[in-house]
């Protein structure tokens, strides 16, 4: 009797696993289509630009400056299509894990001292590479406006705050340390002028 029960539990567990695997698989496939689409778009634009290139040089040559980019874009168009077809024909892709580091018990221990509500959004955002990519792009836009040091201080502090491993004291110390290092090595030693804000630093 007990055995049967165990089997049932196992089966439903397996089913659930299978379901999530199928779900994952759908997502992975979606990403592959996205990559294929990006490749087609990129190579399409590249092809258009290189075919309409102004050459104003020895045009009697069979191989012009435009030939190489044109040929390469055509190849990438073909490969992009091949990738999409391959994706469509493939059933599973076990190669890719979308969540390599889903929160385990141990991981959550790290952040348990914080309030539950706070934990939710930071726990999610602080682990997302996408959030950091967006942050980094914003950071690059702001550097010429507000200067390297001010923007970087905000960027590093906010990044460390999202990650929430260090105490706030350590966060500030690490930020200060990195900025001092940047100052001494780049400004003082290598004499590189980093962008400054309207306030002169």
């Amino acid at each position: 009797m007990e055995h049967v029960h165990e089997d049932l539990v196992l089966n439903s567990h397996e089913e659930k696993k299978e379901e999530t695997r199928l779900d994952e698989n759908k997502r992975v496939r979606g990403f592959y289509y996205l990559i294929g689409g990006f490749l087609l778009l990129f190579s399409g634009i590249f092809l258009y630009v290189s075919m309409n290139m102004e050459l104003h040089s020895r045009t009697h040559e069979t191989i012009t400056p435009a030939s190489f980019p044109t040929a390469l874009s055509v190849m990438l168009v073909v490969l992009g299509i091949v990738l999409i077809i391959q994706t469509a024909r493939k059933k599973y892709d076990h190669q890719v894990e979308i969540h390599p580091s889903k929160g385990s018990e141990e991981e959550n221990d790290l952040v348990q001292n914080h309030g539950a509500e706070k934990r939710n959004w930071r726990n999610q955002w602080g682990k997302s590479p996408l959030v950091f990519m967006v942050l980094t792009v914003m950071y690059l836009f702001l550097i010429p406006q507000a200067g390297f040091f001010v923007t970087s201080a905000v960027y590093i502090l906010f990044g460390l705050y999202l990650i929430e491993i260090l105490s706030w004291m350590k966060q500030i110390m690490l930020t200060a340390g990195l900025l001092l290092f940047a100052y001494f090595v780049f400004v003082d030693l290598l004499l590189i002028r980093l962008p400054v804000g309207p306030w002169g630093f």
């Binding site: 040089s57 980019p69 990438l76 790290l110 792009v137 690059l140 550097i143 970087s152 990044g159």
Partner: protein
């Protein structure tokens, strides 16, 4: 040659150079020990800081880092069961098993000795082989260079791990990016999409920093696993016995041989070398059943192979200007940073530099050995810095570095865009080495192709009328044909098998 090598040693023995060798080896070991920093990203991370340095010193520093980083990975593989570099993955099998048995010290000695011997033999072969090879390469004209670059790309795309389509996509993407900017022959603006800032082209070094370091930083941020405690390794009390050493010699030599052979061809790389050498060692060992349960040779063979690839990968890079691995591609970036083009001319125009590299590489092996003995407790402590913190630190340092490289925001933008591309590529198992080789080889491939045609007055026969270039092109065809032949053969086998099954 020997007098030049002595000159190289005398410049490498200067106090400043010795400092850079030890410092580089130290940085390399630390980087290699940190999971997430490979030898390519360790070199790329430091590259921008060598900006104002003397070319010789900067090359010495970076070579020492390369040497140190290839060793560092095995420390954490052995002690913490986390490979610090991809090539150290197979070293966790026997290395960590030994640690669990309380034999961590012996394991570390074995990998240190194997790595040093492998690295030294690799360097000696590099020195012996590269001089005549460079002499031969001096007679190469544009057609030979074109054929060689084509061969490099073909081998890479065909033999790359994972899918051939992905390898080709990445490779062609790199070649396309390389065409942005001014045309190398006529100086016409190409695919700049109307942005004047793109006229200079996409600079290679920030792109590399993005692909290897920034992408890694994005990846590190999402990890939250707790780092394990570091086991104690009493190194002094656990030196290998004479008998153990004697038993290892054969495996170290086998590993070195495999490392040389795999490391010299494009896309070979240390990871493949260490995996192959592990399985070969398993086959030739009488204790093969105990592999994975703590066999010293299971650790020593891949370590020797790993370190031997350093010398091997430098052979095509120094003599032909062709990078065989991602790390050597970054090193090419270091040379070009100082306005020096690696290739056969390097041996005549900058002979001091070449022999300086040779001498530095030999000394770096000893430096790694010494640092390995002294510093292992320290390296393991640093390697347990929480990964997300490491990610943030890497992000800010790499962005600074890529700014410094171009002294404008363009460098940072290139690094971030390529960081995002590199992250997506890693996540979906696109190999990163082909994009780098595409970036490096693209201009070489194109300008030599067009120069050849200018030479021949538009006759394509120039590529097959010259024996060396013909040989390279035939090799290309073989490399394209082989995988196709194999897949057809396998399909036929399958069909006949199914046919047999069906009739039965």
């Amino acid at each position: 040659m020997f007098s030049l090598l002595l000159d190289g040693f005398s410049s490498a023995f200067s106090l400043q150079a010795l400092f850079y060798i030890f410092f580089g080896a130290l940085l390399g070991i630390i980087g290699g020990a940190m999971p997430g920093i490979s030898s390519a990203s360790a070199v790329a991370l430091v590259l921008p800081f060598t900006f104002g340095m003397d070319p010789m010193m900067s090359i010495i520093l970076l070579t020492a880092i390369y040497s140190g980083a290839t060793y560092g990975g095995s420390i954490t593989a052995t002690l913490l069961n986390t490979p610090g570099t991809p090539e150290a993955a197979v070293m966790t099998f026997d290395g960590y098993a030994l640690t669990k048995q309380g034999k961590a010290g012996k394991a570390l000695w074995a990998s240190l000795i194997a790595g040093t011997v492998g690295g030294l033999i690799g360097t000696v072969i590099l020195i012996v082989a590269s001089v005549p090879l460079a002499k031969e390469a001096l007679s190469f004209g544009p057609p030979e260079y074109f054929a060689l670059a084509l061969l490099g790309l073909t081998v890479l795309a065909m033999l790359t791990e994972g899918s051939v389509v992905k390898g080709m996509i990445v490779c062609i993407f790199g070649l396309m990016i390389a065409t942005i900017g001014l045309d190398p022959i006529t100086g016409v603006q190409r695919v700049t999409f109307g942005f004047p800032i793109l006229m200079d082209g996409i600079k290679f070094v920030p792109a590399l920093i993005g692909l290897f370091a920034v992408s890694e930083a994005f990846d590190l941020i999402q990890h939250r696993e707790k780092s394990g405690s570091v086991p104690k390794a009493g190194l002094w009390s656990s030196m290998l016995t004479k008998l153990e050493l004697k038993g290892l010699i054969r495996y170290i030599l086998v590993g070195t041989g495999i490392g040389m052979f795999v490391g010299i061809k494009p896309g070979g790389g240390a990871t493949i070398a260490s995996i192959i050498s592990y399985s070969v060692a398993k086959q030739i060992s009488p204790n093969r059943d105990n592999f994975g349960k703590g066999q010293l040779e299971g650790l020593a063979t891949p370590e020797a192979a790993d370190k031997a690839t350093v010398g091997a990968a430098l052979i095509p890079m120094l003599t032909l200007g062709l990078p065989a691995s991602a790390t050597t591609a970054v090193l090419i970036g270091a040379f070009t940073l100082h306005g020096i083009q690696p290739g056969p001319n390097l041996f005549t125009e900058h002979a001091d530099l070449v022999y300086g590299v040779f001498a530095a590489l030999i000394l770096a092996n000893f430096a790694v050995f010494i640092l390995g003995i002294i510093g292992i407790p320290l390296f393991t402590k640093i390697s347990v810095v929480p990964k997300p913190i490491l990610g943030v630190i890497i992000l800010i340092l790499t962005l600074l570095g890529s700014y410094a490289y171009q002294t404008n925001m363009m460098g940072m933008w290139v690094a971030v865009v390529f960081g995002i591309i590199g992250y997506v590529m890693k996540r979906f198992k696109f190999p990163t080495a082909p994009i780098v080789l595409g970036l490096v080889l693209g201009p070489l491939l194109e300008s030599n192709f067009r120069q050849s045609l200018l030479l021949s007055g538009g006759e394509y026969s120039i590529f097959i009328s010259r024996p060396i270039s013909l040989a390279f092109i035939i090799l290309c065809l073989v490399f394209v044909a082989l995988p196709i032949y194999w897949s057809i053969r396998d399909k036929k086998k399958k069909q006949t098998n199914e046919g047999v099954k069906a009739s039965a």
